[in-house]
Symmetry: C2
Subunit: 334 residues, 2 copies
């Protein structure tokens, strides 16, 4: 059997001529070790290639250092940017991220949370889907922290981070009107996630307040291709809209491409377009999309600082962040 075992604290202790406890204390911050033995231990550890076994440590301390990230569609620009920011911040605070990707079903989120429990994750961060209450209760009862990002759930216990979607939608409605647009449309997917629906709701309501109707079109899941299809639906109407708010930037990219290349329309002259997320592609010169920036870094910071805090503050369990409007050239004026 060539499968050589990992080196244990025991072996380091023997090599250094000290007790196993001394080794342990050397690698535990805040423990009492004399500089002399500490050095002996470090030397021996270096030679033997010793690394603390975090499985065992997690077992004892009842704190694994693992944080579970539950995400679907991780290949998508917004999701991957969010994942990047979260893993980075987690690493900075000494945690490590376990990544589980789900399909769009809620079942798969439940399965992911079960996995998180098995590995005794200190926390789970949910970016997609909404788990069953029974399973989130289980997590909470086990002392596992829960963070819901853009999920808009009303349960007690998890930290909920959301954006001011409705307000943002209202802002873009007035921007459209100020640009002289009168026939507004909203392009959405059929995913029906809380944040997407909030944007739709906010946009329709704000338009109504301005005395305008909104054509709402929904199709498929939230991606580039759906944007093309929705463009097809909106631009073949006998009265074309002159402004479209797309629920996400990916939809907007698809919409713009179809509008330009398939319907030979000019943006923003003939039609104004806005998106949401501020993915990297929104800034590319083919799109120059006016959109709302998801404050991914702030979301990540907010998340890990809440995870680091050991006191549960009930008042801060729901955070609403502001989405800044990034003005580019897909809307006239500005």
């Amino acid at each position: 059997m060539s499968q050589k075992l990992f080196v244990s604290a025991q072996e380091v202790a023997e090599k250094a001529g000290v007790s196993r406890s001394a080794v342990s204390r050397t690698f535990t911050s805040g423990a009492s070790v004399s500089p002399k033995t500490r050095q002996k231990v470090l030397d021996a550890a270096e030679v033997l290639g010793y690394h603390v076994n975090h499985l065992a440590r997690g077992l004892m301390r009842n704190e694994s250092g693992i944080v579970c990230l539950i995400v679907s569609d991780i290949g998508t620009p917004y999701r991957s940017a969010m994942t990047r920011a979260l893993t980075q911040q987690l690493q900075n605070s000494g945690k490590v991220a376990m990544l589980i990707n789900t399909d769009r079903s809620d079942d798969s989120v439940d399965l992911a949370l079960r996995q998180a429990i098995r590995y005794r994750a200190d926390a789970s961060i949910i970016l997609s889907g909404l788990p069953d209450k029974s399973i989130t209760d289980l997590c909470l009862k086990n002392g596992q922290r829960l963070v819901l990002i853009n999920r808009d759930d009303d349960s007690e216990g998890p930290l909920k981070i959301n954006l001011d979607d409705e307000d943002a939608a209202a802002r873009i409605a007035t921007a459209f009107v100020r640009a002289g647009c009168r026939k507004l449309a909203f392009a959405n997917s059929q995913a029906g996630t809380p944040s997407l629906m909030a944007r739709e709701r906010g946009f329709v309501a704000a338009a109504k307040a301005l005395g305008l109707d909104v054509i709402v079109e929904r199709f498929g899941h939230t991606g580039y291709e759906s944007g093309r299809v929705v463009a097809q639906q909106l631009l073949t109407r006998k009265e074309r809209p002159d402004a479209v708010f797309c629920a996400t930037d990916l939809l907007a990219c698809g919409f713009m491409d179809a509008a330009r290349h398939q319907f030979s329309m000019s943006i923003p002259d003939q039609i104004c377009v806005a998106g949401f997320d501020d993915i990297e592609q929104a800034s590319w010169s083919s799109y120059q999309l006016t959109t709302f920036a998801q404050p991914v870094d702030m979301i990540a910071r907010e998340t890990v600082s809440w995870l680091a805090g050991d006191t549960v503050q009930p008042e801060s369990q729901s955070v609403c962040l502001h989405a800044d409007l990034v003005w580019r050239t897909s809307i006239r004026g500005g």
Copy 2:
């Protein structure tokens, strides 16, 4: 202290009126338990919300089920697609992915591998950077498997998966020539990673074989903005190239946007462009980029099937996969 502990096998055993071993065996596939007690255990576990502690199990079995993914620039389309495929395949085979993102330094890869050792990961998959030999040796000695994707290292032990970059580059060179191009250029970043350099090398060599020189321009790291800068450099020369092979699709997108919007050039009439990776954006109608597809799913399958195999087959430790040419309209003819 509201921090209630996780429920252990002990408690399940008491509730079910059996021994703790019975509980353990119920959740160990292939162990000997009578259907009767098995059911009693499962019922009790369900009621109490018991989940096997994988930290403890990993400790005992000397196999954590964790696979470490070491990636930089995870927000990037190609990297995130690769990450998605890998995590998905790992999950399917009962493993779980631990995601560590690094900056572009090799030091940070070493740090990541140390973390992998601490958590006793069964394997580490390296998508970026190249770790120091001493640390990879340590991993291997500890029985941790190593997979290098597009890294082109010549060490023994790890599984190395690469593409036929040079050959692909040669194919695109002949495609350019067939399209009537005579002034070839190669757009690269300064990252100098093995696969990027292989593409450059292959392209230059193939062009030379066809009797043509290649203008090589490199800038920054491998992203959209660098593509724009390289376009600036290439298209302000007194003799503009009429075909550009970009080392990655992101570079190509930046290049195309600059060529069109800044230099008012028409693609493919005035200049032909090709990329590498086949990121999603390459298929968007604003780009319609002819490019080589990274076989991400096949890479992922190859990786996890090698990880699942328990016998180390020395002959299969280096895999070279074929990159298919995806023909779109950024090159004339075809």
